[in-house]
Symmetry: C2
């Protein structure tokens, strides 16, 4: 199975309103609720692709219980979340029906106690032997040491399990020192990590910091991948219009599924970019459009990049 | 005990953000959650005043369970909510820390089935014999007949239990036909009911439509009360600055507690206005400031109004 780690899970709530006006009262016309946090989103896409996937991280309180109940409804997904005394956060996306714009409210996550962090590490160690790949995804909740991802990456590598890291800020800066096999930053995270806004230079720099492969997601321009086997750019056939929520998580799911299926890098990148694009095109945030995915898969342009590093 | 009916209960969530900007992402700095819906708020104030109070209405789903768990923490309050298959709504108040302004998002309530409505009516009939007064509060959820409050008011009156109605729109227009003992509209509801924006004329009209007493809440101007024993105005000693959320519910709690303690009308009105003002002054929305209440109680000006009706 593929293991995804989400230390800061969330219950993602979407509220539709005709138009959000600050300091006014709004009748919400439609409410949807689903388990969230980057690693949970990655797991849902992997499960939809037919992979066996296990979700770990933390869940607690009533919100955590709702999240876990919902996870049982996903075929192919196993819940190995570690219970905590705090309450799992909610995120609320308020979607303007008129403009299509989204206003996001993110609750803080629960503070993790040292005992809970230890319990997680034990659970993680127990899960690793059955994992064909691990993804470490998203922000760290308060109480978890800032070097957490470096430690988890090292443990996975020691167990011979390839590990992908997708996080930001200090968690990324410290996490890359754990030498993850794949780093998946977006342009902003890459610039924050390296100080460079020039994608190729920043991707090279990120790789020198310890990552085996860096797949930089450059939004509408697709991805730039610097791997031990070669360097590539992969881009969707045409500019996409839609909701980019979850596009990065679908990209990660594509990379992981290609990894465990031992696809050559160009095929992995084509799959990842097609999945990501099919997520932008889907009317439901964070879901991918299967028909669009099938259509895009053969139309992603993958071009070799001169080995600049 | 005093019985309060809340057919459209809610879990009230408050999110604090530095400043709400449409289409931006916000980190919520503080989250609070409490049981809500007008009748639930009235019950909490009554319980804080030392009254035994029973809450009925509907609750369902995970949100309903959270609401019920929280009600068990209120001393003096008995939960007699009727379970429903739908999920109790949430309301989200997003408070701007910079401006103090509040943006409100109200989820729709669950649709009540005919069987659930019958179960409620049975529960209500069983509770009435132990009640010294009943308050019918707030909006009607989908599925409940629009004449619901008229029927519930008639049943209470037939059982010899005085009944107060606090609702709006069609539920108010139809409810007043049930001849509630006390109607507590605000200026807007009164204007909607009667077509008149002149408070005295509108209050007289509302009374002619079937209410024994009308206590019109006129915001900063206090209240205008037309009762069988006389007509009064009651107002706080000075203009108030604060959060008016819940001020109307505290007013209802003051009226009900004065009713069951058989206070003369001027004393009931003084209590109700002082409680309402102490709610505006409290930093926590919907709570009343006890010290302010004690201070204001002797300073509310109650003046007799010429019997114009």
């Amino acid at each position: 199975m593929i293991l995804t780690v989400t230390l800061n899970t969330a219950l993602d709530i979407t509220h539709r309103v005709p138009s959000l006006r600050p300091h006014a009262s709004h009748r919400v016309s439609d409410v949807t609720e689903r388990p969230g946090g980057k690693g949970v989103n990655v797991a849902r896409v992997l499960a939809a692709l037919g992979h066996e996937v296990t979700v770990t991280g933390f869940a607690g309180g009533t919100t955590g219980q709702v999240l876990r109940d919902r996870l049982t409804e996903v075929p192919g997904l196993t819940d190995a979340l570690v219970p905590v005394s705090g309450t799992t956060r909610r995120t609320i996306a308020v979607v303007d029906e008129r403009s299509g714009g989204t206003t996001q409210l993110n609750e803080p996550g629960p503070t993790i106690t040292p005992a809970e962090w230890s319990a997680f590490q034990e659970a993680y160690d127990d899960l690793l032997p059955s994992a064909s790949a691990v993804a470490l995804c998203g922000s760290l909740p308060p109480g978890v040491p800032i070097g957490a991802y470096a430690g988890l990456a090292r443990t996975a590598r020691a167990a011979g399990v390839p590990v992908l890291l997708d996080t930001s800020g200090a968690a990324l800066r410290r996490g890359v020192a754990g030498r993850p096999d794949i780093l998946k930053p977006n342009a902003e995270e890459l610039a924050e990590l390296t100080g460079s806004h020039e994608p190729l230079r920043a991707t090279q720099d990120a790789r020198r910091r310890g990552a085996g492969t860096v797949v930089a997601s450059l939004g509408p321009q697709g991805v730039l991948a610097l791997t031990p086997e070669g360097h590539w750019r992969a881009a969707p056939p045409a500019p996409l219009h839609g909701n980019p929520t979850g596009a990065g998580d679908s990209l990660v799911a594509g990379l992981l599924s290609g990894l465990v299926e031992h696809l050559p890098w160009p095929d992995r990148l084509a799959r990842a970019v097609a999945l990501s694009a099919a997520t932008v095109l889907s009317p439901a945030a964070g879901e991918f459009d299967r028909a669009a995915y099938g259509d895009l898969l053969g139309r992603v342009a993958v071009t070799a990049e001169a080995n600049a590093a």
